[in-house]
Symmetry: C2
Subunit: 319 residues, 2 copies
């Protein structure tokens, strides 16, 4: 069993290779070749420390995988990362556990990859102004990934009272070379071609009337019951896509669309990112369409990203 460390991944694995791997994984999922197993989650003695276990089979790599992701907000006070993540890669043929991959950093890459793939397939080709809402660690990954698929030259980030905007701007500059301009959310929403929301919000972080024709929105944050980043009106009038409709209907933005009676699960079923990649559902048809992608996160992303990381790190080690 190989052990692929977080440090090696940070050193050797970039956004582009993970985007490529995750796109292939979504394509295989869209063709119905891959599988997502039920998500298990629970907590131990501290109800705030939640471990979620995502597992499945990714046909693009031929691996089953299991990711255990722990979230413990109390870790901040301990000076520790609040998220930890580890992925086991299991050979689909031999059942051998081929690798255990420390996936804390990789999780940021794989999540951003899905949002960027949606941008690649849905945003206008000339989209170059990116607006980001949310100033956490994930936001930096999101900017980097979107910049890998569109000629981003302008990054707006939404101001937030008390946030360390200098530190955020520096992290983005170091990672992407891009200069962040801080804006009120309304200005950001009215000016950006692409908006990425990366927040833990439970009510909309922007208003429907702010969104111009032609905008693409990737909503990364909603991944549990009750979470919500977008107004239902915006989702309802957009061309709307999800990573995994069955899951989005429960824990993504789609839950609110269904609750508002604006769609049925049957309406949503053929609107996955995989369907879009495989062209079994159409995407943007005019420069004025508003497109929305709802990301909740699925195991095939973890498997494809871990497999890519394993392949790269193994080749670096043997070089």
């Amino acid at each position: 069993m190989l052990v692929i460390t977080n440090q090696e991944i940070q050193q050797h694995v970039g956004a582009a290779v993970v985007i490529d791997a995750v796109e292939k994984a979504f394509a295989a999922f869209g063709r119905g070749e891959s599988k997502v197993f039920p998500v298990a989650r629970g907590s131990g003695s501290d109800p705030c420390h939640i471990t979620a276990i995502k597992s499945g089979f990714d046909a693009s790599t031929g691996f089953m995988g299991v990711k255990a992701a722990s979230y413990n907000p109390g870790n901040r006070a301990r000076g520790l990362a609040s998220h930890t993540s580890t992925t086991l890669l299991i050979d689909d043929v031999t059942a051998e556990v081929v690798a255990v991959v420390e996936a804390g950093y990789l999780n940021g890459l794989r999540t951003a990859a899905a949002d960027a793939i949606a941008v690649k397939y849905l945003a206008r080709p000339d989209a170059h102004r990116l607006g980001i809402i949310g100033l956490g660690a994930q936001a930096v990954f999101e900017i980097e990934a979107v910049a890998a698929v569109r000629p981003i030259d302008t990054v707006y980030a939404a101001r937030r009272a008390g946030a360390d905007t200098d530190r955020f701007a520096q992290a983005v500059r170091e990672r992407t070379g891009l200069i962040v301009e801080f804006r009120d959310v309304e200005d950001l929403a009215r000016q950006a071609d692409i908006i990425v929301t990366a927040t833990p919000a439970t009510s909309p972080v922007l208003r429907d009337e702010w969104i111009r024709p032609g905008t693409h929105v990737s909503a990364m944050g909603s991944d549990n019951v009750g979470k919500m980043e977008l107004p239902v009106e915006l989702v309802a009038r957009s061309l709307f896509y999800m990573d995994y409709p069955e899951q989005s209907a429960v824990i993504g933005e789609a839950q609110h669309l269904l609750a508002a009676g604006q769609a049925t699960l049957a309406d949503l079923r053929r609107r996955s990112l995989g369907d879009l990649i495989c062209a079994t559902v159409s995407g943007r048809s005019s420069a004025d369409d508003i497109t929305v992608f709802d990301s909740s996160g699925i195991a095939i992303q973890d498997i494809a990203a871990a497999h890519a990381a394993m392949t790269i790190v193994r080749s670096v080690r043997s070089a």
Copy 2:
């Protein structure tokens, strides 16, 4: 992250220490301090290759854990083990993945430990004749574990057409020093004080009328819908216990008891091994009682066993 290998576990971790760890885990579970998360399972391109993921929190060690166990019957033709198993140990406080434990061998120990703990609490103190039904690798672990809790001097194994009885007898002798006598199932059942069933059966492997007063039966095999080792009549007239009633009701012997209308889930709920250890349910009250234990396997066993293995191997390494 520590990596604890299968080889180190085979070399340094014995049955007694795992029985002790698993008993403490069941006690904490019986006190309501531990948790079992939902089981996830699925297959990849080959529907016969099934991966099951068991996870939970074990208060006796303070660890969450995730075990991924793959079963691929096609592996026999490849000369590979049909079962593979890997456990992640996650610190309940810091969310750190402290160890990844190769758990193929350990799985045999932890499964046998539960059956032996049931023997410890339920079999007559003077029980010394053990009958084993099933001649697979697990049967050897079961004999070893039972011999650790009762003064076993006689082992009967059920004959099976085409089975390599010499190899089985040799494996038992090497491991426990005990000599196996092969018997027809009926003779075995009529003569044994303790019976362990370790088969993949889907219909009873013994008959109710063969079971003498005073016998204890640990049924290890049933761990899925449709599996069955014991006649419902036997279970119904016995003092009946389960590792985890909610799970046994779906995948253990209890499923057939419920289907036959011989019990309700409410009847079963306080009849767990943890309740027995904590004495919140009574056990055998006379030398004539027939006692039955239904083992389906839960995550706290995996966590406690992996934690014990980690502790031992770490101390061996630093010695």
